[in-house]
């Protein structure tokens, strides 16, 4: 099967299916059965279609590019074992008119970096001017296919779950959290179709990010995901808290997107392209011209895919030098020849690059793109929106705010990884470490079950970012996938608990394992997965593999950079904290005696439609990390997509001197791996043990600990005072300035306007007076005179014939007399 033609078709259809569902529900949702009940069916059918198509695409992919263990430890030492003939450069796209571009993994032979198999092309060109192109296109490699499967699989589970969870919305809803002015609760119609409409649009947007072939398209769907998140967080928009949370998420994300825009501008302005892959375009003369994509520009094949500052950025930064060249050429009489200038500039680019020109631009581009990821993936300092986002319905939390949307940031860093310099990676590692530590500590003291999970999500995202930052490309993305499974499982379990208890507060739960065995069991699996439980060196849950990989990479980084070893400490400490708070959650919820008997008596196991997805996800949470005999497994599949040139050691940063990013395969080597695995096991076990001591067996009362560490407890309970800090340094000044401006508006501008209006009114009043008494007076006077004259003259029209005759006679006489007096001289004379 021709993968270059088939994959874009399959994945493109998988991408568009939720859009069809969205449009259908948008226009016909309320008419889909009673209260729009069938909207769930439509949306689920669409996402199942996507899942099937994604699985087909995965099959096609695996048929063309089998995953073997050899690839897993590929890198520079092993060379590539790709399949020649998989590439078909310039082949036509699948009926969409764009041109496809496939790159095989055989490109650079046995030495240097292998080129991962990938396919890219454009379906539709939005805009083209000169060398600049905006288009809807695809970039498909193993990571894309895997993400499609993961997103659609989780989304399918969550659609099924949500069709049960949201059944309240099928009827009129009385929202007990909204208090109207008259003290009653809000009573509103159900919004069942609306929920699935937004969910479908979200799936479409998320898949759009995954399949995007260029950064502009990524940005478009990035924002679409943001607006979907806004819709879904604010689903209960009558609640003030939900409305605020939706706005907060949207605004905080804008901050990150601002940085992303800067990054996009840096790339667009300096390099003139946002495409990931190389393209072949036809120029004015009809000749095909190769246009390298971002990856080829930053890691050209000529350097063995080693990172170098692209010529475009060098020239961009060396504007003064280029101007000097132009002047020199002009002085030599060749000013009219752009070719000569271009040739001279090209010959000197290497000099300028050696002087370090342009590396700041590349750094800014990388950090800018990462800023967007910070917002979307809830990294420090923009993580504050994610816990608040738990105001949305629980399926939303599971899908949007744990498994997929927040993963978009990590995914983009992974996708953009070839362009990131060691300096940028170090920044990412820092941010990731800070995030994971802060979030984990806050999760220790949170009592809202969904907030615990939310901070856990933030913390795990920090893990992923840190992994990417220390060079663990595969480890970070591996954890992204496994985390998607077990975190969506955990959220769905928490949703099941909330569904049963009608409260989020863990202090009112306890002992639920008896009444909700399935939920308790699957949640226990999720907790074990997230702490990375497993029998060391034998077998474990999915988290065991991914977390070990991260720890190992962090340890390798620490070994390579002796002065920066604390990052490993952060990872290990984070693992301990994760184990503690996750089992604190489980023990408080399911173990022991019920704290609130009223809730415990009314609790019940959720309906099968909700439990089945839990089981499916629980199984996946366990097995997702396994590698089958023969090398087939997620880790190796990801490894297959490793960007060209990123398998080796990256050295040197111009900002952080002596920085070494170790190659990832080193972390698999014995000493590092064993240390990491043992550390992970020990920290996780310690965390679980401590949780059991405090919350299961009750040997140490949590209250006593909290009392003993009162300042620290308060600090954590207030979430490190981040909300207060942001309120003080951003919100309050903005409000103050707004108040000032508003005051100026009211006090000065409005006064002036009012004064103008007042004077205009006075003038108008004067005008009205003139109109009324002078103009109208004249007119009325004329009318009155005419009227009165008419009245007087009317008396003469008596209708009496004889009187008329008399008048005629007298009138004639009078006329004669008058004439005789007047014209006496004339007549008589």
């Amino acid at each position: 099967m021709d993968a270059a033609a088939t994959l874009p078709l399959l994945l493109g259809l998988a991408w568009l299916a939720p859009l069809v569902s969205f449009v259908a529900i948008l226009f016909y949702g309320p008419r889909m059965g009673p209260h729009g009940r069938n909207a769930a069916t439509v949306a689920t059918a669409a996402i199942v279609t996507s899942l099937v198509l994604s699985l087909l695409a995965a099959g096609v992919w695996l048929g063309n590019h089998p995953v073997t263990a050899a690839v897993a430890h590929g890198g520079g030492d092993h060379g590539a074992t790709g399949i020649p003939g998989a590439d078909s450069p310039g082949g036509q796209g699948p009926g969409h008119g764009g041109e496809g571009h496939a790159v095989g993994e055989h490109a650079s032979g046995g030495h240097g970096a292998p080129v991962p198999p990938s396919y890219s092309g454009d379906w539709y060109t939005l805009y083209e001017a000169g060398g600049l192109t905006l288009s809807i296109g695809w970039w498909i490699d193993a990571l894309t296919v895997m993400m499609f499967v993961v997103v659609t699989l989780i989304a399918t589970c969550i659609h099924v779950y949500a069709s049960g969870y949201m059944h309240d919305e099928l009827h009129d809803v009385t929202d007990h959290e909204v208090h109207l002015a008259d003290g009653s609760h809000l009573h509103r119609p159900g919004r069942f179709p609306r929920f699935f409409q937004a969910l479908s649009l979200f799936c479409f947007s998320m898949l759009g990010i995954v399949i995007a072939g260029n950064l502009a398209m990524v940005f478009i769907f990035w924002e679409l995901v943001g607006i979907c998140s806004w819709f879904l967080i604010g689903f209960y928009y009558e609640r003030q808290s939900a409305s605020n949370a939706a706005n907060k998420a949207f605004i905080v994300n804008r901050v990150g997107d601002f940085g992303m825009l800067i990054g996009l501008m840096a790339l667009w302005g300096a390099l003139g392209t946002l495409h990931f892959g190389d393209r072949t375009v036809v120029d004015a003369s009809g000749a095909p011209v190769a246009r390298p994509g971002l990856f080829s520009l930053v890691r050209p094949a000529s350097t063995g895919h080693a990172l170098e500052v692209p010529a475009g950025m060098v020239e961009f930064a060396a504007a003064d030098e280029v101007a000097a060249v132009v002047r020199t050429t002009a002085a030599q009489g060749g000013g009219a020849d752009p070719g000569a200038v271009a040739a001279t500039v090209a010959s000197r680019v290497d000099d300028w690059r050696a002087r370090g020109l342009g590396r700041w631009l590349l750094f800014i581009a990388g950090v800018g793109i990462f800023c967007g990821c910070v917002g979307k993936s809830a990294q420090f300092p923009l993580f504050v929106w994610l816990p608040d986002a738990m105001e949305g319905p629980t399926p939303v939390s599971a899908l949007v705010h744990s498994a997929t949307m927040v993963a978009a940031g990590v995914y983009l860093v992974g996708r953009f990884y070839p362009v990131l310099t060691p300096d940028v990676l170090y920044v990412i590692a820092w941010i990731g470490a800070i995030t994971l530590f802060i979030a984990a500590t806050i999760a220790l003291v949170a009592n809202d079950i969904k907030r615990v999970l939310a901070y856990s999500t933030v913390s795990q995202l920090g893990y992923m970012m840190l992994a990417l930052g220390v060079g663990g490309w595969a480890a970070g993305l591996f954890h992204l996938v496994t985390h998607a499974f077990f975190k969506s499982l955990l959220f769905l379990c928490s949703g099941s608990v909330i569904h049963a208890c009608h409260t989020n507060d863990m202090r009112k739960m306890g002992g639920l394992a008896k009444v909700m065995p399935w939920t308790a069991g699957t949640m226990l699996v999720g907790c074990l997965a997230i702490i990375g439980a497993g029998i060391p060196f034998v077998i474990g849950t999915s988290g065991y593999y991914s977390k070990d990989a991260i720890l190992a990479q962090a340890l390798a980084f620490a070994n390579a950079n002796p002065g920066r070893g604390w990052l490993f400490g952060a990872v290990a400490g984070g693992a301990f904290l994760t184990a503690f708070y996750m089992f604190r959650l489980w023990f408080m919820t399911f173990a022991g005696e019920p704290r609130d008997h009223h809730i415990a008596e009314h609790a019940h196991e959720s309906p099968p439609v909700m439990v089945r997805p839990l089981v499916v996800l629980a199984v996946l949470a366990v097995v997702a990390g396994w590698t089958l005999p023969g090398g087939f497994g997620l880790a190796n599949l990801i490894e297959q997509a490793r960007p060209a040139g990123t398998g080796g050691m990256e050295q040197g940063g111009f900002l952080f001197s002596g920085l070494v990013v170790p190659p990832e395969h080193e972390s698999h080597e014995g000493a590092v791996h064993v240390t990491a695995t043992l550390t992970a096991f020990a920290t996780a076990a310690a965390g679980v043990l401590l949780a059991a001591v405090m919350y299961l067996w009750g040997w140490v009362s949590p209250h006593v600990v909290a009392g003993a560490l009162r300042p620290a407890y308060e600090f954590l309970a207030h979430r490190w005072y981040f909300d207060e800090l942001y309120h003080a340094i951003f919100v309050a000044p903005v409000l103050a300035v707004s108040a000032l401006v508003s005051g100026a508006d009211r006090g000065i501008i409005d006064r002036i306007i009012d004064g103008l209006a007042w004077s205009a009114r006075c003038l108008a009043g004067f005008d009205a007076w003139i109109d009324k008494w002078v103009v109208d007076g004249l007119v009325n006077a004329t009318a009155d005179v005419t009227w009165n004259a008419g009245l007087e003259l009317k008396k003469f029209q008596t209708g009496r014939l004889r009187q008329y005759v008399t008048f005629i006679a007298l009138g004639t006489v009078a006329l004669f007399v008058l004439l005789s007096f007047l014209y006496r001289s004339t007549f008589a004379g």
Binding site: R802, T806, A809, L810, T812, V813, F816, V817
Partner: protein, 242 residues
């Protein structure tokens, strides 16, 4: 003797009489007197009689002024035609209340003042033109009927009108005018019937239906009248049954 002397004295006086003046005075006083009689009589029948006499005397004045054709026309048309018409009108309307209608004294005084003022103006104007007071120098005997008839047919044969065109066009206009007047007068004075019966009439005359008027007008009127009476009759039949 005395009679002779008287006669003798009278004869030269009689011979000195200007008979033209005498008859003028006679006709003038008759015309003016009967005209004033028309004014002062209140009975309309007598007014008509006095008017006839006044106009007849005026015809005499016309004869005296060498306008024998006009005088004849005056007698024929005015006295013989117009006034007969007028007398018919008097007789048609001469019901007792209308034979003499009193006029208020105020109106009479006002009319008298107006009349006196007009008369004064006219007399002053007439007497102020000296030329009109001079008598003719010699006798002229020129019959006017023939020249007038020729002039009406467009040919001027009299000396004064030499070179001027005649009165053929006014003559024709007047003839058409008279025709129009006759038709119009006949139309105006014809006996009219109402277009639609008034509700009051229908109700009032429910039992004996309105008798169809004699069909003296155009045939369309007859059919209209017949159809109307048929309608009324059917309505009455229903009313009678009730």
């Amino acid at each position: 003797m005395t009679g002779h002397s008287l006669l003798g004295a009278a004869l030269p006086m009689v011979a000195a009489i200007n008979w033209h003046s005498l008859f003028f005075l006679l006709f003038a006083s008759l015309a003016c007197g009967f005209a004033l009689a028309v004014v002062f009589t209140t009975n309309v029948v007598r007014m008509a009689l006095h008017l006839v006499l006044s106009l007849a005397a005026t015809a005499g004045l016309f004869f005296l002024a060498n306008a024998e054709f006009i005088g004849a026309m005056q007698l024929m048309i005015y006295v013989g035609g117009t006034l007969v018409l007028l007398v018919f009108g008097v007789m048609l309307t001469a019901q007792q209340p209308f034979v003499s209608i009193r006029t208020s004294a105020r109106d009479q005084v006002l009319a008298g003042v107006a009349g006196a003022a007009t008369l004064a103006v006219l007399l002053v104007a007439v007497l102020s033109v000296g030329r009109w007071g001079l008598p003719a120098s010699g006798e002229v005997d020129a019959p006017t009927a023939t020249p007038l008839g020729m002039a009406l047919l467009g040919v001027r044969v009299d000396a004064a009108g030499g070179g001027h065109s005649g009165f053929l066009l006014p003559f024709e206009i007047v003839s058409v005018h008279l025709l129009v007047v006759l038709v119009g007068a006949a139309y105006l004075a014809r006996a009219k019937r109402r277009r639609t019966p008034r509700p009051v009439d229908v109700l009032a005359s429910a039992d004996p239906p309105l008798a169809p008027r004699p069909a003296v007008a155009v045939p369309g009127g007859v059919t209209r009248g017949a159809s109307r009476s048929a309608l009324v009759g059917s309505g009455d039949a229903a009313g009678g049954g009730a």
